[in-house]
Amino acid sequence: MKKHIISLHPLGKELKVNDQTPLIDVLHEFGVEFPCGGKGTCGKCRVRLLNGELNVTKDQQKKLDQLGLDSDWRLACYSKCTSDITLEIEQFKHLILADETEFFFVPGKGFAIAVDLGTTTIVAQLIDLSTAQVMAVETMVNPQVRFGADLISRIQACLEGSASEMTRIIRAAIGMMITLMLKKHDVELEEVILVGNTVMQLIFSNCDVSPLAAYPFHSTNLGMKILTTTELNWKFKVNKRIKFYPSIGSFVGSDILAGIVATGLHLKEEYTALIDLGTNGEIVIGNKQRIVCASTAAGPAFEGANISMGMRAVTGAISSLKQADGQLKANVIGNTIAKGICGSALIDAVAILRKLDQLGMFGEINSGEPDILLSGKVRLTQQDINEFQLAKAAIAAGLFILAKDLEIELSHISELYIAGGFGNYINIDHVVETGMIELSPKKIHKMGNTALIGAKMFLFSDLSTIDEILKKATLVNLEADRSFQDIYVDKMLFL
């Protein structure tokens, strides 16, 4: 029988199904709900088709028209799989972290847009410059996911000839998000500010990404990009400018520059650190004199990739684990039977199992069995634990090497902020117990989407701040450190 691959976003899951499999069967497994029972009346099961073909019957077209959904939407309850497809699931949109943080600002005039262009997700907000209030938010899965989940596969796709297509679809997607917000609020835009990692910046600005394909990962094209609505093919008016903020270098982009501004670490006497646990994990340590930063490939394990029963924080996912009387107690989203485990609970599991002496110092399962039962049918395998070790060691080694570069002890860091959607759900005590962050839990804070907070702050500040940060910031290539291997392997242990 013919098989097709369905790729689900922002879940980051791929699965193989038989030809003609109803999507309702597949998505139900992942916790998608069908409130009207598959009659096509509520539109809650709608999915956006990012890639591939998904035929629309006359019946479905009628329902889609009634619901006012345009041509890239489908109703899962009406659809059958007939080709390889990439889908964005509307019900999982809450996984994308927007932001409502308040910050100090000097009131301006008019309205503007701040965009956080992530590898996996995009968030755009319409801001009233006189009050700094968020008037509208749009979130979306980055349509480039069909070219690969991580940055290296996106670069590879560009090198293989998809660069202009990727530029076109990302510009169109953000243009559409802004258009949707302007439909709700008929206002004139003064400015659009975008932040994102280096690869996102280069692709959005139609620049060559090939320098980032190999060492020394050095692009000379990472400065501020000023763009016009004409070249972006955006149909609305922007009075002043559309700016993609400059990257710091290599894989550390303007999303981290924004994160630095959001945490204010560049203004403080004491050393402060920022860790962004997104698809590409970045680390920054600095104060008002010096700032060092690095990128690691730590993200995917925390997003459930490479973890055998890993999934995002949706219905059926174990979101956290506790220990009670030497037993694991799982908290499952939606109070249903556990189907998988999300990144936050993975950290809990490892921390608790180590405490219960079910895991040894090398991460080995002490019973000698190939896996450990967590809850329901959800198991954690030896490979899963090893994947976690690689990820936590990447963060721990990154922090260690950056501190070494500044010639400080880790204990000299006064505050550490964790950014990124996943970061919001983690148990900080457990993070510390696994050895991922070797600091007192009291110093560690969750801060949400610091890229978006920073992008909004950019709307209210002049460029002198970021010029100063860029002057102070140094990029450290972790792998180039001679002692990296020893430190990295050392940090894989559970001591």
């Binding site: 590879q156 060492y215 991460g363």
Partner: protein
């Protein structure tokens, strides 16, 4: 005498470098690979026997356990360190020709790539399999491989890459090596590498894990 070899095998298998090293806990305060090798040499055991009956079987056990996911990178590295401590004592015998290796293995991470842990693990396992190693390091272009091959005629070559974007550089390296020494055996490995890719670029063998590399090379030597 044989007891010493059994103990040395155990010390290397479990990564006991020397007496004062705290790992592994079950061998605390016992002699490590360093002391046991010195004792074995003093007891008159032939260096070739030390290599063949303690080090090679120990590393082979380690390689198999790694391939079966029973141990992970830290334990493997610990074993490699213990082996290194033993090899250090055996060095004079390699130099004098008292120990014969199976051949030479030239290894490097390809141009554009700085990742060396995977390459180092393979290099240690192959050394533990009884081969001499020429490690060219990271970010290595075809010219360096060709030069090393000139200095070590008949050597087997190993190429490593961790990124999809740098893996492609293996193709150019393989064809340049073939131009200079068509008979050279080349094996490749690394996270993005597959058997299909290996075939596509005309390399001889794709090693999914370090142990498979050792097994392939042992077949070449036999």
């Amino acid at each position: 005498m044989e007891d010493l070899l059994v103990k040395l095998l155990e010390a290397v298998e479990f990564g006991k470098v020397d007496k004062k090293s705290p790992y592994p806990p079950q061998l605390r305060d016992m002699d490590g690979a360093h002391e046991l090798t010195i004792s074995a040499i003093e007891a008159g055991i032939k260096p070739q026997i030390i290599l063949e009956e303690a080090l090679i079987p120990a590393m082979s056990k380690v390689g198999k356990k790694f391939a079966e996911c029973k141990i992970f990178v830290p334990q493997m590295l610990m074993s490699a360190r213990a082996m290194g401590a033993s090899m250090f004592q055996l060095k004079p015998f390699f130099a004098s020709g008292a120990i014969k290796t199976k051949g030479t293995f030239i290894i490097g991470t390809v141009k554009g790539d700085l990742h060396d842990i995977g390459k180092n693990l393979v290099s240690m396992m192959v050394e533990g399999g009884g081969w001499s190693i020429v490690d060219l390091g990271v970010d290595v272009g075809s010219d360096k491989f060709v030069e090393a091959l000139k200095n070590n005629p008949g050597a087997v070559i190993g190429l490593s890459a961790l990124l999809t974007t740098t893996m492609v550089n293996m193709g150019e390296i393989v064809s340049t090596i073939r131009e200079h020494a068509p008979e050279t055996k080349i094996l490749i490995g690394g996270a993005p590498v597959t058997a299909e890719f290996c075939q596509h670029i005309g390399a001889d063998f794709y090693a999914p894990d370090p142990q498979k590399a050792v097994e392939y090379m042992n077949k070449l030597a036999s």
